[in-house]
Amino acid sequence: MTVLPTTAANPLRDPQDRRLPRIAGPCGMVIFGVTGDLARKKLMPAVYDLANRGLLPPGFSLVGYARREWAHEDFAKIVHDAVVEHSRTPFREEVWKQLAAGFRFVPGDFSDDVAFDTLCQTLAELDRERGTGGNHAFYLSIPPKFFSDVVGQLKEHGLAEGTPLSWRRVVIEKPFGHDLQSARELNNVVSEVFPPESVFRIDHYLGKETVQNILALRFANQLWEPVWNANYVDHVQITMAEDIGIGSRAGYYDGIGAARDVIQNHLMQLMALIAMEEPISFDAQSLRIEKQKVLRSVYRPARLDLHTSRGQYAPGWAGGEPVLGYLQEEGIPPDSHTDTFAAIKLEVDTRRWAGVPFYLRTGKRLGRRVTEVAVVFKRAPHLPFAATATEELGQNALVLRIQPDEGVTVRFGGKVPGTAMEIRDVTMDFAYGGAFVESSPEAYERLILDVLLGDPPLFPQHEEVELSWQILDPILEYWAEHGAPDSYESGNWGPQSAVDMLARDGRVWRRP
C-alpha cells in the first residue's frame, strides 16, 4: 500500500529494506484554526512526535493561521507549550530547534484578502528558505461554516493548485455535514477547488492501531474467515460508550446528537471494516470499493420505532459522583430533543450477512468509556450435554476491544473443574498491553504522515460519507418527528427502550 513518490529513481530505496521508514518529501503544513483545542491537544503534539521519530522531512514548516495578533515567536511559544503538555514522546531540545525554525504565523480573518496575500508570501518564502518545494497541506481545523470562505480564498490566491512537480492538499475533520444534503453542499465547496485525490477527510478512528488490526485479524488469518458469515454469526454489536457528558461542547453538540456525532462516521466505518469482503489489495481504491459495497447493501429495519432507540441522560450518580442531566448542562435549552444516546439496528443485504443484524450504539454518560466490536456466534446446534450442564453457557463471542483496553477477547465454554459436567463461559485474552500501546503512535501521527505522503487508504472518501448519511438520514427524520428522546440515568447503559429493542429480537446487549 506504500507508494513512495520516487522509489524507482532512488537507488538507496529497496523494497526489501523494511527498516527504512517512510519520510515525507519536502513539504509544509498550514493549520487554520490553530488556536482551537484540536490543534493544541492533537495536531501540534503529533507534528512534534513525528519530528521526534525522524519522519518529517528536513525543513518541514508549520504555518499557523488565526485571528490573533501574534508574532512568529508567540506562535512558537504556543506550540511549545502544547507539545510539552501533550506530546507522546519525550521532549528533546534539538528536535524542537529543528522544528521551531520552520514555524510561521499569519494573523487574519478567514475573509481577509490581505492576510491571504501574506500567507501566499509566507509560503513562497518557505519554499525559498526552507526548501518546502511548493508542497503544502492545508489543515482546516475550523467549523464547517467557514470552509467555503477559506477554500474560496485559497483558490482566489492561487494557493489551491499545485504544479506538476508539487502538490497542494486539504485536510478536513468531521463533521462532514449534518445530513446528506449538507454533506453534499460541503463536498461541493471543497471539490470545486480541490480534486478528490487531494481531499483528506480525517476520521481519527481509522488511524487507530486497533482499528487497523481489524484488517489484519480478518485477512491475515485462516482461523476466522470460515466462520465470518451468517452460518455461524448470530449478530454483531458495535459499541462506543463515553462516561463523560458533553462538557464544554454544548454549542457544538446540541442539535447534532450522538447519532450524527458518532454513528455516522466512526461506527459506520467500523461496521464496514467488519462486514466488507476481502479487498484485492490494501491500496486506497480497493479498500474504498469494498467499503462502499457494504455500505450500499446496508438496509434499515422497516419499523424504526421498534428497532431504534435514543435517549438523553438524566441527572444521577456516575462513577461515584453526582452529575447533571443533559437538559441541566450549561447552554442547553430546557426543551432540547438532542439524543445523547443512540442505538440502531442495521442489516446487510449480502449472502455473507443475510439475516445477521448489526446493532450500533453510542452514548454519553454511560457506564464506562469503552469502544468495542463484538461478533456473537450462534449456539452450537446440538449439545450432547444435559440441559443443566450448559445452563450457564452463553454464546461464543469474538470481541475486538478498540479502546481503552486494546486487544481481542474470545469467549467460549469450558468445563468447571469437579466431578459434575458443568460448562461455563471462559475468556481468552490477547492484550496489546498497556506499555506496548504507549509506544505505538497516536492516530493523528499516522494520519498526518499519510497526508504528507499522499497515502490515502485510511481516509474515508466522499462516497462513503454520503452513503452513511443515506443510511442514517431517515432514522434522524423519524426521530425528529417523534418528540423527545427517552431519558436514562447517568452512569448506566442507556434507556429501557434500547434493552427492549434487543429483547424483541431475543437478544441482550453485552455489558462491555
Binding site: T2, N10, D14, G54, G131, A216, G433
Partner: protein, 364 residues
C-alpha cells in the same frame, strides 16, 4: 516476585515459572518471543535492564545466560521473576558453572516459549561463528554488537560479515537506520546520479564501515572512508554533478542536511540507546536481506571471501530448534537463498521469498 533456585535444573525453573504465574492469578500470556541474553556477570545489570525495557514493546520471556567459571562441579543457579515491570513477561537469570558452561543450550532449550521466535543477543563479545554456536543454533535471530567490543571492532564486524548466516544481525547495522533513512530522503528530494562519496566517522567504527559498504553496494560507486574525532558517524557526503549532498553531525545530536539548490537545514539525528536499537531489531524477525547484501559487499570490499550461506534458517517459521545432540548443519551446501540483484554473479539462484512486499502491506 522473585524466586531463587540453587543447584537447580531446567524443569525446576519451568515449574517455578508456572507457579509464579499462577500466584499472579495467571494473567494473560501476551509474550511473543523468547529473548536469550548471553552475557557476562559484569554486563548482566545493563543488559538485563535493556532487555526488560525492550520487553515492554515486545513482551518476551527473557532468559539471561551467565556463564561463570568452567572449573569445579557443574551447577545451575536460577533467579525467576514474573510480572515485575517487564511488560507482563517473565525473566530468568541462569548462572551456570562447571562443565554445564559448555552445555548452556541444554538448560535453555526446555525453557523456550512454545512455537514462537527465539532471539539470542550477545551484549558483549559474541562467539566467532554465532550461527554455529550451540545457543545461536536455537535462535531465529542472532543479535551481536561489534561496537560493544573493547578492542578490534573493525575485525569483529568483518568476522560477522564473513560468517553471516540468515538470521544474523549486528546492532552496528541497526544504528544506521536513521542515517540511511535521511540519505534515502535526500536522494528522494534530489534525485541525481551519485558519482562518488565519503563517510567520516570515529576511527574503528563498525557502523561507518557498514554504511560505506551499503552506499557502495546501492550506488555502485566507490565510497571513501575517512577518520574523524567522532562521536560515531560524523558526516556522509555524496558527490553529484550538481553539487554535494551532505549530512553532517559533529555533535552526535543535531545534524545539518544540505542538498544542492536548497538552504541547509537542521535535522535531529540522535544516537540511540541499546533498548531502542534492540526494539527495532525485534520488530522484524525474518532474515534481513539488505544486511546480508551489505555484509557481502563489506567482504568483497575488503577482499575477504564470505562463507557460503545456509538455506534452512532463512525460513522465519523454522522456529523448531534442532536438538542439541544433532550435528551442526553442513555449511557447504550450494548457496541458493539470499541472492540479490547486485550480487548474483555466480551460481546463485534467487530463491528470495516475497516476504518483503507482504510485510510491507502488513504495516497498514
Amino acid at each position: 516476585m522473585s524466586v531463587e533456585l540453587t543447584a537447580s535444573n531446567a524443569s525446576q525453573v519451568a515449574a517455578a515459572l508456572l507457579q509464579e504465574r499462577r500466584k499472579a492469578g495467571s494473567p494473560a500470556m501476551g509474550m511473543v518471543l523468547t529473548l536469550v541474553v548471553v552475557v557476562s556477570e559484569e554486563g548482566l545489570y545493563d543488559a538485563f535492564k535493556a532487555a526488560k525495557a525492550v520487553a515492554r514493546e515486545h513482551p518476551a520471556r527473557i532468559l539471561c545466560v551467565v556463564r561463570r567459571s568452567g572449573r569445579g562441579a557443574s551447577n545451575l543457579d536460577a533467579e525467576v521473576r514474573v510480572g515485575e515491570g517487564n511488560g507482563g513477561g517473565e525473566s530468568v537469570i541462569l548462572r551456570m558453572s562447571g562443565e554445564l558452561v559448555g552445555h548452556a543450550d541444554s538448560v535453555v532449550l526446555p525453557l523456550l516459549l512454545p512455537d514462537s521466535p527465539v532471539v539470542v543477543w550477545w551484549p558483549d563479545k559474541p562467539p566467532d561463528d554465532v550461527a554455529n554456536d550451540a545457543l545461536g543454533r536455537l535462535a531465529t535471530r542472532r543479535v551481536t554488537d561489534a561496537a560493544a567490543i573493547e578492542r578490534g571492532r573493525q575485525a569483529a564486524i568483518m568476522r560477522q560479515a564473513q560468517l553471516y548466516q540468515p538470521g544474523n544481525t549486528d546492532l552496528s547495522w541497526t544504528r544506521l537506520t536513521p542515517w540511511r533513512a535521511l540519505l534515502a530522503a535526500a536522494l528522494d528530494q534530489y534525485p541525481a546520479k551519485v558519482t562518488g562519496g565519503s563517510v567520516s566517522a570515529a576511527r574503528s567504527n563498525p557502523s561507518a564501515d557498514l554504511l560505506a559498504a551499503w552506499l557502495c553496494h546501492r550506488l555502485g560507486v566507490g565510497i571513501e572512508r575517512k577518520s574523524s574525532k567522532g562521536p560515531g558517524v560524523t558526516s556522509v557526503r555524496l558527490a553529484t554533478p550538481g553539487g554535494d549532498v551532505e549530512i553532517s553531525r559533529p555533535d552526535g545530536r543535531l545534524a545539518t542536511f544540505s542538498i544542492p539548490n536548497a538552504p541547509p537545514r537542521p535535522v535531529a539525528l540522535k544516537r540511540r540507546e541499546i533498548p531502542e536499537l534492540l526494539a527495532e531489531e525485534l520488530r522484524r524477525l525474518d532474515p534481513d536481506d539488505v544486511y546480508a547484501d551489505v555484509a557481502r559487499s563489506l567482504c568483497l570490499l575488503a577482499g575477504v571471501t564470505p562463507v557460503p550461506r545456509r538455506e534452512e534458517a532463512a525460513d522465519p517459521n523454522a522456529t523448531m530448534p534442532p536438538t542439541p545432540t544433532r550435528k551442526p548443519p553442513r555449511r557447504t551446501l550450494p548457496k541458493k537463498a539470499q541472492a540479490s540483484k547486485a550480487t548474483k554473479k555466480t551460481t546463485q539462484k534467487t530463491a528470495k521469498k516475497a516476504s518483503g512486499s507482504r510485510a510491507r502491506s502488513g504495516r497498514s
